[in-house]
Every structure is written in structure tokens, then in C-alpha cells.
């Protein structure tokens, strides 16, 4: 299996790469995990991961500035139907719009907006930073990405959150004075607001689930 992690200048991806390698090794899967900024490698990958830290607009710009990358993503995700995972801002980019520093267009793969977290309780800090307990949505059917994680807390750090238009796209949320989207899924596309590569055992288990996932 060839997995491509898209490197578009958004933070350090080495620990993400190592986490995917570790999860593949522990699950007994033969996988090549490649950090890449080349659209041709992304287009040929069996699985694609889009990470992202910082501001929505910076990340969208970084992705747009790689010639051919968005076309390659559309090709591999929509035409070929390969499994896709967006992480943190990488997940937010799947939205229609980001409302951070003005309105930015996203990839519009899952309709909805990325909006500021505005807790009514002043004791709740922003960024939403730390370990929060995942609550699974989907009416009793846990998505394959979230099965047998062996732990229930994931590591978050974000000031904006994704509100999909269709609530059915949300497969897990957390409570933080309001419900914040923790994970989304539609067809072959997945996204986590939290960082699996920083979420210790839960994170590695989730990555293994993604590697084994046959949508």
C-alpha cells in the first residue's frame, strides 16, 4: 500500500509520518508512507492524508500554490475513490467555507462552514486545547474508523470548528460548552479535528483502522 501525506508547508509532518509507519507496523500491514508535495504521487497513492495546522486561509493558500495538487486530490478522492483522511485544518479544508480572517473557499467536499469556537462560559478557554472524550454519533452504528480504539480521549488544539450542513456527516463530537465536531465521514472521505498522531494509543489505533478501511 502506498500512502501519501501531503506536505504543503503546514507544519512538521515527520511525527505524522512516523505515527503512520508505527501503526502500519503494529497492524502487520506493508505500507509505504511518503511525505510529498508532488501531485503525480498523490494521484497514484492508495490512500491520502491531508494534515494541517495554523489558519484555514494559510493552509488553503499553501495547497493552492502547489500546481496541480487540488486536481490530483479531486482525481484520487473522487474519481478513483481512494480512502482520504484530513487531520485538523486538513479536515476543515473539506468544508465549503472557512470563516477565519474573512471568508475563504474550501474544497467543498462536505458542505458546511468552519466557524470560531465561542463558548458562552468564560471559564472555557479558546483554543480548545487538550484531551477531550469522543462521543460517537450515528445512532448506534460506530464508524469503522472509530471501532476498538482502546481509549476514549483524543488530543485537540483548535480555535475554529467545522459545522457540516448535514448532521449525518458527523461521526463523533466532543462537548465543550457546545458540541464540537470531532470527526466527519462521507463515502471514502474521513476527517478528524483532533490529532491522531498526538493521541497516543487511541491515535495509533485510529490510524490502523484507516489503513485497513475498505470504504
Amino acid at each position: 500500500m502506498k500512502l501519501a501525506i501531503i506536505d504543503y508547508g503546514s507544519g512538521n509532518l515527520r511525527s505524522a509520518q512516523k505515527a503512520f509507519e508505527r501503526a502500519a507496523y503494529e497492524a502487520g500491514l506493508a505500507a509505504t508512507i511518503e511525505l510529498t508535495d508532488k501531485p503525480e504521487i498523490v494521484a497514484e497513492a492508495d490512500r491520502v492524508v491531508l494534515p494541517g495546522v495554523g489558519a484555514f486561509s494559510d493552509c488553503m493558500r499553501g495547497l493552492t500554490e502547489l500546481p496541480g495538487m487540488i486536481e490530483a486530490l479531486n482525481d484520487v478522492v473522487h474519481k478513483k475513490g481512494q480512502p482520504f483522511l484530513g487531520i485538523c485544518v486538513g479536515m476543515q479544508l473539506m468544508a465549503t467555507r472557512g470563516l477565519e480572517h474573512g471568508t475563504q473557499q474550501g474544497l467543498n467536499w462536505i458542505e458546511g462552514d468552519v466557524v470560531a469556537i465561542e463558548p458562552s462560559d468564560p471559564a472555557l478557554k479558546v483554543p480548545h486545547m487538550g484531551w477531550n472524550e469522543l462521543v460517537f454519533d450515528g445512532g448506534g452504528t460506530v464508524h469503522p474508523l472509530l471501532r476498538n480504539l482502546g481509549a476514549d480521549h483524543a488530543y485537540f488544539v483548535h480555535s475554529y470548528h467545522f459545522v457540516p450542513t448535514n448532521p449525518d456527516d458527523v461521526i463523533a463530537h466532543v462537548d465543550y460548552g457546545q458540541q464540537l465536531t470531532a470527526a466527519v465521514a462521507r463515502d471514502n472521505m474521513l476527517g478528524t479535528q483532533f490529532h491522531p498522531e498526538k493521541s497516543q494509543t487511541l491515535g495509533l489505533a485510529l490510524i490502523a483502522n484507516f489503513l485497513k478501511w475498505m470504504p
Binding site: 507544519g11 511525527s15 495546522v53 488544539v157 466532543v174
Partner: protein, 252 residues
């Protein structure tokens, strides 16, 4: 719900842990990567490296330490100490730090906080504030390990750096650091209540009740300690259980 965080901090000098960590089964207590792995296994919520290397030539070692830690520990890592330039921040993030803590440079040049957070995002910029009580209800920032007064009010400075883009405050009570007498709770509370971002309480933890007080009375989002864990007096699990027993939501 979001849990309070427990963060062990390792002081690293010339690539070695100062005040070695006393873990059962840990062969080299001076190896920061081995210590980090032990804390990862023990269930620490985050890790913090404070680089106290003095000589300029040896300062590059911390990048290797961070790089190796990030390849083995899949948990959040904050690195601070001697961060002076945007290039320092960039190099630490590229080595694998998730957050970089800025101390003296933020005091000397607050605009550096804005520059760093605009470049890398607020989520990875921590401002470390070292403060002492100067009169009741008044706390002043000190630099150079608590020796140099600055005349700057700690609460006002915290609000200022948050407005400039700091995503978190690491607040050390300098009049408590090393005393084992507990956090400076009025200071911790004043800063936590004054800012919208999370505050990590640091300095003075000598027993597990101090961790509890940091959250319940200090209103901190996270508590940081060094020696009570390093010397094997308490495990991370014991500390978390103690905090849970006191009614604080923690991740076990």
C-alpha cells in the same frame, strides 16, 4: 468534556536531563528521549522540554533530542529555553515540537509573539511568564532565572501577549519554584481569569494536593511539575488518580 492536563517537564542541558529521572527500569536517567518515552507510557498528557544549555555551540543538540522524541512519542511536545529568533521557532517546529515556548524574548520584544504566531499559528506559540509577588495582589515579571526585575505587571503582560497571538501561557511562580510549597495560587488565578487562552501552572509543586489546588483554586487548565515525578516520589497515574479523587476531570 475537556480534561485538565498533567505535564511533566524535563530540564535539558547539553542534550542531557538535569536532575535525572528516577524511573524503575530506566537504564539511562540522563537520556531525555528515554525519559520522554517513559512519561509517554506512563500516560502524561503532554511533555515539556526546557533547554537550559548555556553555551551557544551546544545549543543545536536540542534539535536532535526533539527530533528523536517526536519519532517515538506520539503525544504533544512543548519545547522552550533560549528561543530568540523566528528561525529558532521554525527549527524547533521542524524538529517535531508541537508548541514552542518563548520567555525572555517575549518580554524584551512583545511584537516577536505577534510575528511568531502569524507565521506559525497561535496554537503553537506559548509564552512563558516568570513572575514574583511584589506586594499583595501585585505580581511582577522577572527574567534571568528570577534575578532581574522588569517592572512589568504579570497580569497585564499576559493579556498583552494573548492579544498579540499567544495560544497558551506557561506561568511560573518564581517565588515558589524549587520550594515545594505549592503554586502561587493568587497569581495563577489572577492570570487564568484575565486571559481567554489556557494557562499552565508551574513552580513549587511538592505534593499531589498542590496539583489539585492549581486547578481548583488557581483556575489553571494544566499543571506542570518536575521533581515530584522525576525522583519517583509519585507516578503520573497516582497524581491523576489523586486529582480525580478531588473532583477534577482527568484522562486516565
Amino acid at each position: 468534556m475537556l480534561k485538565s492536563r498533567l505535564i511533566p517537564c524535563l530540564d535539558v542541558k547539553d542534550g542531557r536531563v538535569v536532575k535525572g529521572v528516577n524511573f524503575e527500569g530506566l537504564r539511562d536517567a540522563g537520556d531525555p528521549v528515554a525519559c520522554a518515552k517513559a512519561y509517554d507510557l506512563a500516560g502524561a498528557d503532554e511533555l515539556c522540554f526546557l533547554d537550559i544549555t548555556a553555551s551557544h555551540e551546544e545549543r543545536a543538540i536540542i534539535f536532535d533530542v526533539v527530533r528523536e522524541t517526536a519519532e517515538h512519542c506520539f503525544m504533544p511536545l512543548t519545547v522552550g529555553g533560549g528561543v530568540r529568533t523566528i528561525e529558532d521557532v521554525r527549527k524547533l517546529l521542524l524538529a517535531g515540537a508541537d508548541k514552542v515556548s518563548i520567555n525572555t524574548t517575549a518580554v524584551k520584544n512583545p511584537d516577536f509573539v505577534r510575528e511568531a504566531s502569524e507565521k506559525f499559528g497561535s496554537q503553537c506559540i506559548v509564552v512563558a511568564i516568570d513572575a514574583k509577588t511584589v506586594s499583595p495582589g501585585k505580581w511582577e515579571i522577572f527574567t534571568h532565572g528570577g534575578r532581574e526585575p522588569t517592572g512589568i505587571d504579570a497580569v497585564e503582560f499576559a493579556q498583552k501577549v494573548v492579544a498579540l497571538g499567544a495560544g497558551e501561557i506557561l506561568l511560573t511562580s518564581m517565588d515558589r519554584d524549587g520550594t515545594r510549597a505549592g503554586f502561587n495560587l493568587p497569581l495563577t488565578r489572577a492570570v487564568s481569569d484575565a486571559v481567554t487562552v489556557p494557562v499552565i501552572a508551574s513552580g513549587g509543586v511538592g505534593e499531589l494536593d498542590h496539583l489539585v489546588a492549581g486547578v481548583t483554586e488557581g483556575h489553571a487548565s494544566a499543571v506542570l511539575a518536575a521533581s515530584i515525578f522525576h525522583f519517583g516520589e509519585h507516578t503520573i497515574a497516582q497524581a491523576k488518580q489523586h486529582m480525580i479523587d478531588a473532583g477534577i476531570p482527568m484522562r486516565l
